[in-house]
């Protein structure tokens, strides 16, 4: 039985559909990431699951029960907000206790649960402090503790890492993922950052203009994108796309190598004029144009620095480059993925 199941959820604000028909199944215990650019509807969709917004049409099932008309507190979901939403006038202890108090849980049980949640997240020493006395990472853990203390059927997170500074993000990412694996709660995580999505998700749902473009594991999303949007949204630098035969072919920068670096398999060859290269330490990014295609379109190649001979990427010259055929994606005129040749 799926923990969360939606059937063709549509949400319109006036005439504008923010969510335009999303049907998604999230199995019990899965870490599902909703990935998409700002304004694509992912946060609205999350809020519908939570119950803070009501869908215009479509069904939502949590734990097997239809919850369309049920208020948030009765749905068995917990949410962690972008700016955490901690109650500023309560201590950490009272913050965590709050969801239990509203359900009139007896005191003894409340104490035990607070104990459990604070142990789990390592915030036992912060219980008597107020939110304004906590660092960003500590606030996040308190918000998580508050969410978990109700043992929800589904845990919803709305871009929780966007308020942390860059350094903290990587370690927070790890913490959240490890933590979710330990506790095993079904988690739906919204983000616009594809690195987070790829790093944390069991499965990713790529959302654009209120619709799911593809649902799959990180590998599927990356190697087997369903359309142009998914192909170019995931991956840095983005996939190269060139027009050919009324459609498009795409190849990722790390697959676009000097011809003599590929010695097996069928390849598609290009003549590549190098314009500029950036040495980033762990890799070298080379920018240029390929012969026979739009000369203003910038093509990127991502090369391992150690194995590349200087002369094969000298700027201003044409060099033979190639892509393994198995790594080429074909898209039709509308951007949909077609079978590989």
């Amino acid at each position: 039985m799926a923990a969360v199941l939606t059937r063709n959820i549509i949400k319109k604000f006036g005439e504008v559909p923010a969510v335009n028909g999303i049907s998604l199944t999230v199995p019990d215990g899965e870490f599902m990431v909703l990935l998409g650019p700002s304004g694509c509807g992912k946060t609205t969709f999350l809020r519908i699951i939570c119950g803070l917004e009501k869908q215009t049409s479509g069904d939502l099932l949590i734990g097997g029960d239809v919850v369309n008309d049920i208020p948030p507190r009765a749905r068995g979901v917990a949410m962690m907000f972008q700016s955490y939403g901690l109650y500023p006038h309560y201590t950490v202890r009272k913050n965590i206790a709050f969801p239990l108090r509203t359900q009139r849980v007896p005191n003894a049980v409340v104490e035990k649960k607070i104990e459990w949640a604070s142990q789990l997240l390592g915030i036992g020493h912060l219980l008597e402090r107020r939110p304004r006395q906590l660092s960003g990472g500590e606030r996040q853990r308190v918000a998580l503790a508050r969410a978990l203390v109700r043992e929800p059927t589904a845990l919803l997170l709305d871009e929780p890492l966007s308020n942390l500074d860059a350094k903290l993000r990587a370690s927070a990412r790890l913490e959240i993922k490890q933590f979710q694996q330990r506790v095993g709660v079904t988690t739906i995580y919204v983000t616009h950052d594809q690195v987070e999505a790829m790093g944390m998700g069991d499965r990713i749902a790529v959302i654009h203009h209120g619709q799911v473009r593809q649902v799959g594991t990180p590998t599927e999303i990356y190697d087997d994108p369903a359309d142009r949007f998914v192909a170019t949204f995931v991956g840095t630098p983005p996939m190269n796309l060139v027009e050919r035969n009324g459609g498009f072919i795409g190849f990722r920068p790390e697959n676009f190598l000097p011809r003599d670096m590929i010695d097996d398999g069928a390849v598609t060859e290009f003549s590549f004029r190098v314009d500029r290269s950036e040495y980033l330490g762990s890799e070298r990014i080379v920018y240029g144009a390929i012969e026979g295609f739009d000369p203003t379109q910038v093509i990127t190649a991502k090369l391992p620095p150690a194995h590349v001979a200087e002369e094969s990427i000298r700027p201003g010259e044409w060099h033979p480059f190639a892509v393994r055929n198995s790594a080429v994606c074909h898209f039709d005129r509308d951007g949909k993925r077609t079978g590989r040749h």
Binding site: G51, L52, R73, M79, F81, Q82, P88, F98, P99, T102
Partner: protein, 313 residues
């Protein structure tokens, strides 16, 4: 290249003086700019304040302007006067009654104006009117509404068959009713301000906190009293402080509506001070009466400063 005195970069650079001189300049200019304001306030607020204190401990009347020092005699005489005690009591009733009423009206008004609805802007402009219009003029309108013969309120009550003409109350001429009237008028004057304060406080609450409370299971009332009220307390406190200060020291409403009557039932400190000190010319006693306002004001201001300091939630 012409010969002549060599012009160096230092001549053009505004900070060519040493940094200390620069900061010194800054400080001097800063002081000069603030000086007129401070001077004005010191001369026309500070000095009169000290004068008031001095009058209260002297025997100054306009008929006998002597600066004899009489210690606390004035205060003793006042406190022993039963009319004064009634005045003091009235002032407290007047202040806290109207603030309480004003706060309640303000709270509910703010809740109504929170979500957008068609015509909200116009409604808001209309609801602000009691606060926006000069006190004296609005009070005069109320005075006319409470008129002993032509009161529109009485007319309505009679028309609705709630009372008969002979039972029609003389609002401003009956002791208990008169106090009720001045309280209502003052609350009426203040509640738009309370609405503004409440709205400002409530809209400053981050939506995430309210959403979290909803998801955590808090219904409307719990959200209101456990989340919203504690979070708007600081700003409401500041508004309340203003309200208390201006009400406790007010004289306009009482002067215009009841002249302190009937029989001193609505006399308040500000009004008594005026009657005794200005109208009767007994400056020293008048000053002493006015000074009774100070203890309450001090307490209130101290609370306010405390809140300003603890601003961050």
């Amino acid at each position: 290249m012409a010969s002549g005195p060599v012009v160096t970069e230092a001549d053009f650079h505004p900070w060519s003086q040493s940094p200390d001189q620069c900061h010194g300049r800054r400080d001097v200019l800063g002081s000069i700019l603030v000086a007129p304001a401070i001077l004005y306030v010191l001369l026309l607020v500070g000095v009169p304040f000290l004068l008031a204190v001095y009058y209260s401990v002297s025997a100054f009347t306009i008929y006998d302007p002597s600066w004899r020092f009489v210690g606390l005699a004035n205060f003793e005489q006042i406190v022993q006067n039963p009319v004064f005690l009634q005045t003091l009591g009235n002032t407290f009733i007047f202040t806290f009654g109207s603030q309480f009423l004003g706060l309640i009206l303000g709270k509910f008004g703010a809740l109504l104006l929170l979500r957008p609805f068609p015509g909200r802007k116009i409604v808001r402009a209309l609801i602000i009117l009691p606060w926006a219009v000069p006190v004296a003029l609005a009070t005069v309108a109320w005075q006319w509404m409470f008129d002993s013969l032509y009161s529109v309120i009485n007319w309505t009550l009679i028309a609705l068959d709630i009372i008969t003409r002979s039972q029609a109350p003389n609002w401003l001429g009956t002791p208990g009713l008169a106090m009720l009237c001045v309280i209502v008028v003052n609350a009426w004057r203040f509640f738009p301000f309370a609405i503004v304060i409440f709205l400002a406080g409530i809209t400053a609450i981050p939506q995430d906190v309210l959403d979290a409370a909803t998801v955590d299971g808090a219904g409307f009332w719990r959200r209101n009293y456990q989340i919203i009220v504690p979070m708007i307390l600081p700003i409401v406190a500041i508004g309340l402080i203003f309200g208390i200060v201006f009400t406790f020291t007010d004289l306009s409403i009482v002067f215009l509506m009841t002249m302190g009557g009937p029989v001193g039932a609505t006399s308040v400190l500000g009004f008594e001070g005026f009657q005794v000190g200005i109208v009767s010319g007994d400056v020293s006693h008048g000053a002493a009466i006015s000074l009774f306002m100070l203890p309450v004001l001090f307490v209130v201001v101290i609370f306010m400063l405390r809140f300003i300091r603890r601003r961050e939630i």
